[in-house]
């Protein structure tokens, strides 16, 4: 016990000499070449690399990183490599938003993607494909949109993911096309002492609609650390509608950093659902930009932390046009010595009159050593708006548990019922049975620890 403490202290001392990833410009050029990127995409990638090099590693003296310390990440050990061949957990391959999926795409860093298509998507001009194919066959879509939603300037890890991503998903739905079947993709990245990167680009043209489920996952490795950095860019055009479910189920050795943003144009609608249970540490930036009149966005977040996990989620609801509506509800439970941070901001631009903005974050602490920080914020520059926010951190109370026990529920079941009840408002916002069921199993797994 005491020797462990000593070694840990040593590590901390070493970490104070500003650490850096060992990647080089040649690595980035190699990725571009492997993908066969046209000049414009290559130039964007190299610019991202330069941005990455110019930015310092985030530290707790930077406001967004104040509560998330990444000095425990041993960057010397992190190398570029392919993922191992561990097969994808079969549970992940199940259709979750309907009886079957329109298409299933499995990405594994360094390996050929697997693609199953149940519906002929191309008939309607829909593109749902891996990044290599996307660069080869649909470069114009990428050139038009990539980096316009999440620019490399957004942060060190945004720049890193933009420079290093070789894997990714492109979903493009042409104007007026209503995709009937849900699309499903998995980024499966087993391996340790590795760095994995991927990006998701979703473009819905005017009046299009789609349902998309994307999962980032890996099994827990017993040793070492792995970094994952990702970018999610979403463009919902005028009158288009997207339901996007994102699940983060990475191994307990993974340090996960993502920058995500959706732009929703006039009368567009986005229903964006997050579920996060995995990783050692996660720092996510999720922004919703309502750029056109009457745009609507709903954010629903489900998270459950355990052991020494640390989740930190920054959300921004940016009302940039009149008559826009945003509604955020994030609910999380914490066990063991885990920690969560949610920091949310509703911004209302001066011209965004008649805006409705809501945000609420609720946390349920299930052990004495767990801790949740919940920091709502409003910045309102218009005068005719309706904005509310709320944040709570609570525990299971004795009285309801006693009440449930008087009905014959053993204590554990009574507690489980209270926890399920706590998450119910989030479950009700998820319009898919399979996803709700999946989240329920995640709760079960967490409570089984």
């Amino acid at each position: 016990m005491s020797s462990r403490t000593v070694s840990r202290r040593k590590r901390v001392v070493r970490k104070q000499e500003a650490p850096e990833f060992s990647f080089t410009r040649e690595d980035v050029e190699g990725i571009s070449q492997a993908l066969g990127e046209p000049d414009k995409l290559k130039a964007q990638r190299m610019a991202a690399w330069e941005k990455f090099e110019s930015l310092p590693m985030p530290s707790t003296s930077d406001e967004p990183w104040r509560r998330t310390d990444i000095r425990g990440l041993d960057l010397d050990r992190i190398k570029m490599q392919a993922s191992t061949k561990k097969p994808v957990a079969s549970e992940l391959l199940q259709p979750l938003v309907a009886e079957s999926h329109g298409a299933l795409l499995v990405l594994r860093p360094g390996h050929t993607p697997e693609f199953q298509e149940e519906e002929n998507l191309q008939e309607d001009g829909v593109v749902f494909t891996d990044w290599t194919t996307a660069v080869r066959e649909h470069a114009e879509i990428i050139e038009r949109t990539m980096d316009t939603i999440v620019p490399a300037e957004d942060g060190k890890f945004a720049a890193l993911a933009a420079a290093m991503s070789q894997e990714g998903v492109l979903l493009y739905v042409p104007a007026g096309v209503q995709l009937q079947q849900p699309l499903h993709s998995i980024f499966w990245a087993p391996g340790t002492d590795a760095a994995f990167f991927h990006r998701v680009l979703i473009v819905l043209e005017r009046g299009a609609s789609a349902v998309f489920f994307h999962e980032t996952a890996s099994p827990t490795e017993s040793e070492g650390q792995t970094v994952h950095a990702g970018i999610v860019e979403i463009s919902v055009a005028e009158e288009a509608s997207l339901k996007f479910v994102e699940v983060q189920n990475l191994g307990g050795h993974v340090w996960n950093f993502t920058h995500e943003r959706a732009k929703v144009a006039r009368e567009g609608r986005l229903d964006w659902i997050f579920g996060a249970v995995g990783s050692q540490l996660t720092k996510t930036f999720s922004d919703l930009d309502l750029t056109g009149q009457g745009a609507e966005g709903r954010f629903s977040g489900f998270y459950f932390t355990s052991e020494r996990q640390h989740f930190d989620h920054d959300t921004q609801q940016n009302h940039l046009a009149p008559d826009t509506m945003s509604d955020l509800l994030f609910k999380g439970a914490l066990v063991d010595q885990s920690r969560s941070v949610w920091q949310g901001m509703i911004y209302v631009a001066p011209e965004a009159q008649k805006t409705d903005g809501f945000q609420a974050n609720r946390n349920l602490i299930l052990s004495k050593k767990a801790r949740a920080d919940s920091i709502p914020g409003l910045e309102i520059l218009a005068d005719d708006v309706r904005c509310t926010h709320g944040a709570t951190v609570g525990q299971l109370e004795d009285l309801p548990i006693y009440y449930l026990m008087t009905r014959g529920f053993p204590r554990e079941e009574a507690e489980r019922m209270m926890i399920d009840g706590f998450f119910a408002p989030i479950m009700e916002r998820i319009p898919f049975d399979g996803v709700r069921e999946r989240f329920r199993r995640m709760i079960e797994a967490k409570l089984g620890n």
């Binding site: 006693y402 009440y403 014959g408 079941e413 019922m417 009840g421 706590f422």
Partner: protein, 259 residues
């Protein structure tokens, strides 16, 4: 005569203060008992001690139920043995619908009897729930609401009786179920209890008003004063209390009651 609740010389403390000072009581299946008395005499304490509330310590005496000593048994085990408490202040369970709650409660009871039990089939449960709700004149949409969450006082009490009807205990304790009810709600609740009572159910009604006893006729009435049952009698005892108040009980027992 085995299905019986027998309280023998029960003494109970909370935070070192003695509340029950030797309670003796027998309730059999098929009987309706009323336990009356002024506020603060230990009636609700008795209800919670019978149910095994963790804050109360039994310092002396026994609670026997179906021949077993409950004193050291956890609350949920008592419930699954067939003891039920309708709360004076039912507790909100946000996020859990009445239907979902009742279905899981039925399953908890049945699984305790048969570990292999797979859970009540949904159609069977729906039919059962509809039947019980009709019995209590409850609108069916009630089943979809979160249990006791934002319920009116009357709705909460009706939800308690609905649970009683669904879980079918052997002994039900109704703790001030009549308090806070208007006359219509009281009538519905009382009708519910009357319908449910029968040879398989014993009822202990705790109240400090005689009012509910206009609707539910007790076989026995007990008066509690300062942690003890000091008078027991028939339904006429309640009538007597209604006319005379509690003063005569206090005068009669002043000095006889400990403490």
């Amino acid at each position: 005569m085995t299905d019986i609740l027998e309280v023998k010389d029960l003494h109970t403390s909370i935070d070192g203060q003695e509340i029950l000072k030797g309670v003796n009581l027998i309730v059999r299946e098929g009987e309706i008992h009323a336990l009356m008395g002024p506020n603060g005499t230990g009636k609700s304490t008795l209800a919670n001690v019978l149910m095994g509330h963790p804050s109360y310590e039994v310092t002396q005496g026994q609670i026997l139920f179906k021949g077993e000593d409950l004193t050291a048994m956890a609350t949920d085990e008592r419930a699954r043995m067939g003891l039920f408490l309708a709360f004076q202040y039912p507790v909100a369970i946000p996020g859990v619908s009445v239907a979902n709650f009742l279905r899981q409660a039925i399953n908890a009871h049945r699984k305790a009897r048969d570990p292999e039990y797979k859970g009540i089939p949904i159609p069977e449960f729906r039919k059962l729930l509809k039947e019980k709700m009709d019995l209590l004149e409850m609108a069916h949409e009630f089943a979809g609401r979160y249990l006791n969450d934002g319920f009116s006082g009357g709705e909460k009490k009706r939800a308690e009786i609905l649970q009683l009807a669904t879980l079918e205990p052997s002994i039900a304790i109704l703790d001030e179920t009549d308090s806070g009810l208007d006359i219509d709600a009281l009538r519905i609740v009382a009708n519910g209890v009357n319908t449910l009572s029968g040879p398989d159910l014993g009822v202990l009604i705790i109240t400090h008003y005689q009012r509910i006893l206009n609707y539910i006729k007790p076989d026995q009435v007990h008066i509690m004063l300062d942690g003890q049952i000091v008078e027991s009698g028939g339904a006429d005892l309640a009538q007597h209390l209604e006319e005379q108040g509690y003063d005569w009980v206090r005068e009669k027992h002043n000095g006889k009651v400990q403490g």
